[in-house]
Amino acid sequence: MDKIPILRMGAFLLVTIQVDLYDRLALNLESDLVQMVSKTDAKGVLIDISAVSIVDSFMGRIIGNIANMSRILDAETVVVGMQPAVAITLVELGLPLKGVHTALDVEKGMNLLRSKMQVLEEEEEDLNDEDDNIPV
């Protein structure tokens, strides 16, 4: 059976969807990705859908699930390269991709993820500073 390859790029995972997925393949991808996030402790997931011409509510739900489960494991999800016609159609279909960031291409997606990681690190530092300031 075909499988969609998941590439590891530093702290991130990249999935490029080349074909219009049928259901079984999409469900496998969902569970494979979540397993990979937890195994590799990835901080971000990039899903490149620039070659995908149709996103229906089933595919939308899969992407939403990946984002939700990744967040529980401390990773953010970015959908990359969504075709304009697909974006317009999703709005009319009534499918808000909740909790999913979007970026024009993989590079911009990576930058977005990096900036999110930095914000998180700074917040942690702030918290540590505050700890130092607690009077004894």
């Binding site: 229906d56 509510s57 939308g60 009319e92 009534g94 499918l95």
Partner: protein, 137 residues
């Protein structure tokens, strides 16, 4: 009056048929020079309806037609199944209503994406959904 110009019938029995069917719809839409956005809307609506057909009725049969009304050309799709039918169509057409654990956007979303949407269903007999997307619709 709507006139049918050319026609094809596709049987749907398994998941893999969905992709073939979507490609067939795309060919028809391209033949009448439907723009990319309308093509995408039509195929997305079709994808929702064919999934319902597989999931709730174990498959069925779809008629793809080029139709014309006056100067306007379009694609008409008729989804026919012999499944359990839908007892409360009004409820099924509501955003977010689903008997499964899915999003409940298929029927109402498909309706928003096309120019013409009609559904007829009889409990125990099956369901027929008809949609039309005009080239400039």
């Amino acid at each position: 009056m709507i006139i049918s110009l050319s026609k094809d019938v596709v049987a749907i029995t398994k998941e893999q048929d969905v992709i073939l069917f979507r490609n067939r719809v795309k060919e028809f839409a391209q033949k009448i020079k439907m723009g990319l956005v309308n093509q995408t809307k039509l195929i997305t609506a079709a994808s929702e309806l064919v999934r319902n057909m597989l999931r709730y009725a174990d498959g069925g049969q779809i008629t793809i037609e080029v139709v014309s009304k006056g100067r306007e050309n379009g694609i008409r799709l008729v989804f026919k199944d012999s499944g359990p039918g839908i007892s409360d169509i009004q409820l099924a057409m509501k955003d977010g209503f689903s008997i499964g654990k899915s999003l409940g956007l298929g029927l109402p979303g498909a309706k928003r994406l096309v120019n013409d949407f009609s559904i007829a269903s009889e409990a125990g007999k099956g369901t027929v959904v008809t949609i039309i997307k005009w080239v400039n619709g």
